[in-house]
């Protein structure tokens, strides 16, 4: 599936919920399915700055596709990074670079998109895209 298709699928899943509480509960569920980062990569260098909670992200190439793993010490943050990774992982770096993240708004998590928000969603997106840029350069 393309990034866009996965994002549409996530939007679809979230559209089943009427209120924020159900959405949060679902996000917490998704956090549990997050492909966990290996302990050896859980280093300070891999912590995303700008988050009140700790978020570690690791990326590696599998043929021409990028595979992300991550973890967080906060459950809601873990859900957010899980949603992002589900849409970006196992995709080509160029597609990740080109992808937009408007679906976050559509799943009712708009408030998390503010650049000043302490959860650092914007920093997470930036970091995932930076990995894509770095590996894109390597592929060339």
């Amino acid at each position: 599936m393309s990034i866009k298709e996965i994002q549409e699928e996530i939007v679809d899943e979230f559209s089943m919920f009427d209120d924020w509480m159900q959405r949060y509960e679902y996000m917490i569920e998704l956090g549990k399915s997050l492909p966990l980062i290996e302990d050896q990569y859980k280093t300070d260098d891999n912590i995303i700055k700008g988050c009140q909670s700790k978020v570690w992200v690791h990326a590696e190439l599998d043929n021409d596709k990028l595979v992300f793993t991550a973890d967080s010490d906060a459950i809601i943050t873990k859900g957010i990074i899980a949603i992002l990774i589900r849409s970006f992982s196992e995709q080509k770096p160029q597609d990740i670079i080109d992808a937009n993240t408007n679906f976050i708004d559509e799943i009712g998590l708009k408030e998390h998109l503010s650049p000043t928000r302490a959860n650092g969603l914007v920093s997470m997106i930036k970091q995932l895209k930076l990995y894509a840029v770095a590996y894109q350069t390597q592929l060339k």
Binding site: W20, M21, Y24, E25, I28, Q52, S53, K54, D73, A74, I75, I76, T77, A118, N119
Partner: protein, 407 residues
């Protein structure tokens, strides 16, 4: 408690308290970060810009005179509130951080390599960083008064740190992260025994405790207006005249000069020596209005009511399974820092926000305290005299709900 204290009528003074957040009535428990502003103070701000906005101390015209008079009256109101001996010992600043930096900068001219500065383990970053910078500039050494698990300073250890090398002692009156009220009278007296100056950061104390500068015999004391019903960007530095005269000016500019030639400038007398440039005139005037407002209710009444809220909230929160309160000093203001075992404060805070409850989560600009307890941060609920027990019930229910969702 004062029989006339009626929290419902007080709440009507604060327009913001009637708004909703995320579809729920606002429950504002982030008072230690900034307090809300009553209509009486908002009116003063509107009146200033509507009626007599002008630059002060230099115009010959009526508006300038009026603004100058109101600004100087504000200085007198502040002087009286803190029982300060002389009006020119009140320096208007943009707030506590500015006040502390002013003193720290001034001391770089007075310290020698090897001199010692003592700070407490309970400090806010704004009360650590300026002294570290000062130490880097002068070669002075920073020493720290340790604390116990309740969040109380160890006074014996403090006694041992003091020596003739000690030139300055810095401590907050009340800890922002834990709410501990520090024994500042004792801290000041002991520092004076070795000839050291003392700066007390009163940012967190001033909204709850009316501090008497002459009785404390403190050398410097700092306050931020926005923590006590006033506007942001206004505050004061109290300094004893003899100390303010010893410190060099902090910033150069208008108002702080007596005479200027290209060869030499002579500085103005106190307080203007430290008030370079056009000050926050409206902010200073509104700061005094906030003091008038709070004195109208009475600090004794405020303290008693807030203590009642603190006891109620402590009792109610402790009914929650796995909840731990950080900062259990005997003397506390109405601040509760807590965590739920196994849960991140950020998660709880996010869900509380959805329920309309504003709390602070994180390290509260006091990372050394969080390191001491080996935690990433806490959830901090801080209460003001306009909060109610009903709101505390909403907080407690919210925490329980968050716990259910997250576990």
């Amino acid at each position: 408690m004062n029989d006339t204290f009626n929290v419902s009528s007080i709440r009507r003074d604060f327009p913001i308290l009637s708004r909703e957040v995320n579809g729920k009535p606002l429950v504002y428990f982030d008072n230690a970060a900034t307090s809300q502003t009553p209509q009486q103070v908002i009116d003063v701000i509107v009146d200033y810009y509507s009626s007599y906005n002008a630059n002060i101390h230099r115009g010959v015209h009526a508006l300038s005179q009026e603004a100058t008079d109101k600004y100087e009256q504000a200085r007198h109101t502040i002087q009286k509130h803190f029982n300060i001996a002389k009006a020119h010992e009140v320096i208007f600043t943009s707030g506590t951080t500015h006040s502390i930096n002013l003193v720290a900068n001034g001391f770089s001219a007075l310290l020698l390599s090897g001199d010692e500065i003592i700070v407490s383990a309970l400090e806010h970053h704004s009360n650590i960083v300026p002294w570290q910078m000062l130490c880097e500039r002068t070669g002075a050494v920073l020493k720290v008064i340790p604390m116990n698990l309740d969040g109380e300073l160890l006074m014996d250890a403090y006694q041992n740190l003091l020596s003739t090398k000690t030139k300055l002692v810095f401590c907050n009156h009340v800890s922002n992260a834990l709410g501990t009220v520090n024994p500042i009278k004792q801290i000041i007296n002991k520092a004076h025994e070795v000839g050291a100056a003392v700066l007390i950061d009163g940012a967190q104390a001033a909204p709850h405790i009316k501090a008497d500068m002459q009785e404390l015999n403190v050398d410097f004391y700092t306050v931020s207006a926005h923590k006590m019903c006033g506007p942001t960007g206004a505050g004061m530095l109290y300094g004893k005249e003899e100390w303010l005269n010893k410190l060099p000016p902090y910033q150069g500019g208008g108002e702080m000069i007596a005479e200027v030639t290209f060869e030499k400038t002579t500085y103005a007398d106190l307080p203007h020596k430290f008030e370079a440039g056009t000050p926050n005139i409206c902010g200073g005037i509104a700061f005094a209005a906030a003091l008038d407002y709070m004195n109208g209710i009475g600090f004794q009444t405020i303290a008693e009511y807030e203590h009642e809220l603190l006891s109620y909230a402590t009792e109610q929160l402790l009914t929650i399974d796995k909840l731990k309160i950080y900062g259990t000093a005997k003397e506390k203001t109405s601040v509760i820092s807590f965590n739920i075992e196994g849960l991140h404060p950020y998660d709880i805070g996010s869900i509380l926000d959805k329920l309309g409850v504003a709390v602070r989560t994180g390290h509260h600009c006091a990372q050394p305290i969080m390191d001491f307890y080996k935690i990433p941060g806490t959830i901090r609920a801080s209460f003001s005299f306009y909060n109610t027990k009903d709101e505390i019930d909403i907080l407690v229910e919210g925490v329980k709900r968050a716990q259910n969702m997250l576990q």
